[in-house]
């Protein structure tokens, strides 16, 4: 059994209904190829490193599955069609990665905008500079 993962980047305007539809259809596709879906995770909204299709933000999803060696090729091709053609308008980018046989499932996820704490203004510089200014006056 080989483990694979697909990370796909969806448009920032994706609704929860659309995400659920993708999840159910993806799970059905994986099952139809005698594979086993390990997880379907929604990473959340991210500020992209560069604009993709004129979008500054995007929503990442991670799909992981296990498949037998003999069934892997048709499944990978079907997934390619699924993301690149069927959901072309919702999915901006995707990448398929082989994790190897019994590959480790732990990974480091970058912090999303949903989980990140609100940005607070650090006024320490201004305060310090004003202190210095007052010292100079003295």
């Amino acid at each position: 059994m080989m483990r694979y993962e697909v990370l796909f980047l969806a448009v920032p305007t994706i609704t929860s209904d659309e995400a659920t539809t993708i999840e159910t259809q993806c799970a059905a596709l994986i099952k139809s190829h005698k594979a086993f879906l390990i997880s379907f995770e929604r990473w959340g909204k991210y500020y992209l490193a560069f604009q993709v299709r004129k979008n500054d933000y995007g929503v990442y999803f991670l799909v992981r599955f296990e498949v037998e060696d003999k069934d892997k090729q048709p499944l990978l091709e079907a997934l390619k069609t699924f993301f690149a053609v069927k959901y072309n308008e919702l999915v901006m980018r995707f990448v398929v990665t082989a994790l190897g046989e019994n590959g480790a499932l732990e990974y480091h996820r970058p912090e999303s905008l949903d989980s990140a704490p609100s940005r607070e203004y650090n006024n320490s510089y201004n305060r310090e500079s004003s202190d210095e200014a007052s010292l100079d006056l003295e």
Binding site: A49, F50, T97, Y107, H108, P110
Partner: protein, 91 residues
């Protein structure tokens, strides 16, 4: 007085020997980081192998062994495809 002549290469070698910079080493070979940490999703680690401009640091600066340097650059390219890392950072 005659000026002491010294070649540029020798000068570099001497400054390198006498300098107080930390010895260059591969963080993966010496066991500080596991090989599994090299992953396109691990953006925080991969960022440490990029220049300010977003280019991949050469191994002569990062100190990575050739095997790990190839792995790091492969994962950086994958992360760039997914817009997790920039191709270039504009000022």
């Amino acid at each position: 007085m005659s000026k002491l002549k010294i070649s540029g290469r020798l000068l570099k070698k001497r400054t390198r020997k006498s300098g107080f910079t930390a010895a260059k080493r591969c963080r993966f070979s010496c066991g500080e980081l596991p090989e599994s940490a090299i992953d396109y999703k691990n953006v925080d680690l991969l960022k440490s192998f990029l220049t300010e401009r977003g280019k991949i640091l050469p191994s002569r600066i990062s100190g990575n062994a050739a095997y790990y340097q190839r792995a790091v650059s492969r994962e950086i390219r994958k992360a760039r495809t997914m817009a997790l890392l920039p191709y270039s950072q504009n000022y």
